[in-house]
């Protein structure tokens, strides 16, 4: 456990040995074990087809696990119908009921629970106030913008105080600016209300922004589940390193291993020192991972005393306002990115030969891809 972290709350959701197949041949989810603590914001992150949405649907009750059991507050829920699970859900396309007003939409979960009239009114009002949409209560969903509709969907999923809220790519249909604003709003709601949220997305920056912990899915398997900073700084394998954040890959062979570090011979010549994270041992193929912002560019011929110094050729530079990128050719990789201060890219010319340097602790030796 990380230093400074409070004693972990007990698991609210527990996936135990979950497998799921649709066709009886291919497993969409392979042997999933996952604990989600009360009050936590957990994101299931992965490319499409990685099993993250299926996992969410099993938790919501719309899909039944082929094997294993899901526990919600220590009760097995594999065979519990969705309407009895007390789980709020926000869908990608909002799924607001088009024939009901905003007010009626938000009141729906209360009215099916036969909540009293006065209490319903009060809670609906509070929920609409929370999303700052009291004035639009009598509108129908079709008259609202996408962002407004998603807010209503959020209020509707929260108004009955469910023990767990699921979100299935809820911001996927919004434009970038609105998406970033909604991310902050959802994060704020999570912090002020103390609700437990399981969030599905394929957008890694969204996951990094909002989550307490992120479970990275690939090919039906959770590759790594960790805090956003740990995921970025210490990916356990090449998939995670490539999926979360920008990443440069160099392939090579492990020459020697010395405790936490190893010497790697690059395929295109030259050796570097790297942290040994996920390698089979000396002689094994490996993929090196270096983040673009951990690399320095030195002019050709300048001396450097670090162990990792590689020749590079400038392909192009990209100006991005708050920073700039240099695209280099390094050791056979023609899309090697180096993050620069804005303005620093001016001195780099196409075809120019330079050297790049990086610290051994910023270079991770991972499984070969």
């Amino acid at each position: 456990m990380e230093a400074g972290m409070v004693t972990p709350a007990p698991a609210l959701v527990r996936f135990s040995g979950i497998q799921k197949t649709y066709d009886g041949e291919h497993l969409v989810v392979k042997n999933l074990d996952l604990d989600i603590r009360k009050g936590e914001f957990v994101t299931l992150l992965g490319p499409s087809g990685s099993g993250k949405t299926t996992t969410l649907m099993m938790l919501a009750g719309f899909e039944v696990p082929t094997q294993g059991e899901i526990y919600l507050a220590d009760r097995p829920i594999k065979n519990m119908p969705p309407h009895r699970r007390d789980i709020g859900m926000v869908f990608q396309n909002y799924a607001l009921f088009p024939h009901l007003t905003i007010e009626e939409n938000v009141a729906f979960p209360l009215s099916v629970r036969k909540t009293g009239k006065a209490e319903t009114q009060e809670r609906v009002k509070a929920a609409l106030r929370m999303i700052k949409m009291e004035t639009l209560a009598q509108r129908r969903p079709g008259q609202l913008s996408g962002g407004q509709q998603q807010r209503v969907a959020l209020a509707r999923a929260l108004v009955f105080n469910p023990q767990l809220v699921l979100m299935d790519e809820p911001l996927g249909a919004l434009d970038k600016r609105l998406r970033e604003q909604m991310q902050l709003e959802i994060k704020q709601l999570h912090e002020t209300m103390g609700i437990t949220i399981v969030y599905v997305t394929h957008d890694q920056s969204e996951a990094l922004t909002m989550s307490d912990r992120i479970a990275v899915f690939n090919d039906g398997v959770v590759q790594q589940i960790d805090r956003p900073d740990a995921l970025y700084e210490r990916p356990v394998n090449s998939f995670v390193a490539n999926f979360v954040g920008e990443n440069n890959v160099l392939s090579g062979t492990v020459e020697t291993v010395d405790k936490d570090y190893c010497r790697v011979a690059l395929a295109a010549g030259g050796t570097v020192m790297a942290r040994a994270v996920n390698i089979a041992g000396a002689g094994a193929a490996t993929s090196l991972s270096v983040r673009p912002e951990r690399i320095a560019i030195a002019p050709d011929g300048a001396s450097s005393d670090g162990p990792n110094r590689l020749p590079a050729k400038v392909q192009s530079t990209i100006y991005l306002g708050d920073h700039a990128l240099a695209v280099l050719e390094v050791s056979g990789n023609a899309e090697f990115m180096v993050k620069l201060q804005p303005g620093a890219h001016d001195s780099l010319k196409h075809g120019e030969s330079v050297f790049i340097t990086f610290r051994p602790e910023d270079c991770l030796a991972l499984d070969s891809v």
């Binding site: 009750g61 709020g88 859900m89 396309n93 799924a95 088009p98 024939h99 079709g142």
Partner: protein, 416 residues
């Protein structure tokens, strides 16, 4: 651009927009023109003609012009004076020579049973124009009916050129000798019952179609495309078979020695064959079968537009399946239910062949009588009046439906 120049160019800009729009509008108009003309000649024209025939009443006026003129100032309280008798005698002479007596006799006979005999008999026996002043005496001698006030009011009321006679008759009403609207004699009053029967059968068939069609449409909308296409072919199959063939197939199935009765007998469920055809049951079964696709297709299209996410959302919000269906799914199918029901109901109102083939005498709908009056008795006035009443009722229904739908328009909230 400054404010001044903007104001200056505002008007020309509007005009230019209009000009640009006009070219587009003309083009659009040219595209729909052929259909518009076609509809005008084959649809609007005949309907207008039908409506006109329902009130047109010029036959008697053409055959007995002098009589009608003479009766124009008659107060109708007593028998008309000698001028009217003389005019009638003169008209009859002329009509006999022209051979048009039968035209007026037929029309007058609609209003007063037996008038045909009175008119043709009088014309036949009126050898020559009576001496001035003796017309009344002569005519009454030929037929005592000319001493009846109603004989004369009948002629006067049939004088046209327009009349409410047929429309009243279509509603079982007549105008009595004093001009007041009263209920028709019981043996003449059949149309209200026939209208009621027509609406009742149509309503029953619509309800049956809805009950049978709703689950099928639901299945169609829920199945994966491959299998739903196959099912759709079965649904559409009735469309591709001739109406006559389908109806006759029902006769084969339902008659007393038919497939259904034989099977039930063979299974030992019945001893005597059930009467399944030439009654209301047979009419409803055959019409429901024919009209079912008209219910299923609008239902299917409205259900297809309902995203499965709605039902999932309802379940995740705590609604049990039945509640979710009643409160979320069903309300969204209402436009489809309305459209399908209206379509089936209006089509059923005009049904003719099916009830004629598989119904009994007491199951004939209004179209049967319209057909009877047009093709057999050539009473175009009454046929048109019945048609006009049916058209009016249908239009009213469509308007009511339009109002209902407008009240709760469903806007698509899903962005897919």
């Amino acid at each position: 651009m400054t404010a001044v120049s903007e104001a200056e160019t505002k008007v020309p800009l509007k005009r230019r927009l209009k000009q640009a729009e006009r070219a587009r509008q003309l083009k659009a108009m040219a595209l729909v023109l052929p259909l518009l003309l076609f509809l005008l000649f084959t649809f609007a024209g005949p309907i207008a003609g039908m409506l006109w025939r329902a009130v047109d009443d010029r036959e008697v006026r053409q055959v007995l012009p002098q009589t009608i003129t003479a009766l124009a100032n008659w107060d109708g309280k007593d028998l008309p004076d000698e001028t009217a008798y003389a005019a009638l005698a003169s008209d009859l002479q002329a009509a006999r020579a022209a051979g048009t007596i039968a035209v007026a006799a037929k029309r007058l006979n609609y209003a007063l049973n037996g008038f045909r005999t009175i008119l043709t008999g009088t014309a036949r026996n009126l050898k020559s124009l009576p001496e001035p002043g003796t017309a009344k005496e002569t005519l009454v001698k030929i037929n005592r009916a000319w001493r009846d006030r109603t004989t004369w009011t009948t002629i006067r009321d049939a004088g046209g050129p327009v009349t409410g006679f047929y429309l009243l008759a279509a509603l079982d009403l007549v105008r009595n000798a004093d001009g007041a609207i009263v209920a028709a004699a019981p043996d003449q009053a059949i149309y209200r019952e026939i209208f009621a029967r027509t609406f009742l059968i149509s309503l029953g068939v619509t309800a049956l179609c809805l009950i049978l069609g709703f689950p099928v449409a639901y299945l169609l909308a829920a199945l994966p495309p491959g299998r739903s296409n196959l099912l759709m072919i079965f649904v559409l199959l009735p469309f591709w078979t001739s109406l006559l063939v389908r109806t006759c197939a029902w006769i084969v199935l339902l008659q007393s020695k038919g497939v259904v009765n034989d099977s039930l007998h063979w299974l030992g469920i019945i001893d005597e064959p059930l009467r399944l055809i030439y009654n209301r049951f047979g009419v409803c079964v055959a019409m429901t079968h024919v009209l079912l696709p008209f219910m299923i297709l609008p239902l299917y299209s409205s259900m297809k537009a309902i995203s499965p996410a709605y039902m999932r959302a309802a379940a995740s919000l705590g609604a049990p399946p039945l509640t979710a269906f009643l409160r979320i799914y069903l309300p969204q199918t209402l436009p489809g239910i309305g459209a399908g029901s209206l379509l089936v109901f209006i089509l059923a109102l005009g049904y003719y062949i099916t009830p004629a083939l598989v119904g009994g005498a007491a199951d004939q709908m209004i179209s049967y009588f319209i057909a009877l009056y047009t093709t057999e008795t050539a009473n175009w006035g009454l046929a048109s009046a019945l048609g006009a009443v049916l058209l009016l009722a249908t239009v009213l229904l469509a308007l009511v439906y339009g109002k209902l739908v407008q009240g709760q328009q469903v806007t698509g909230g899903m962005k897919n």
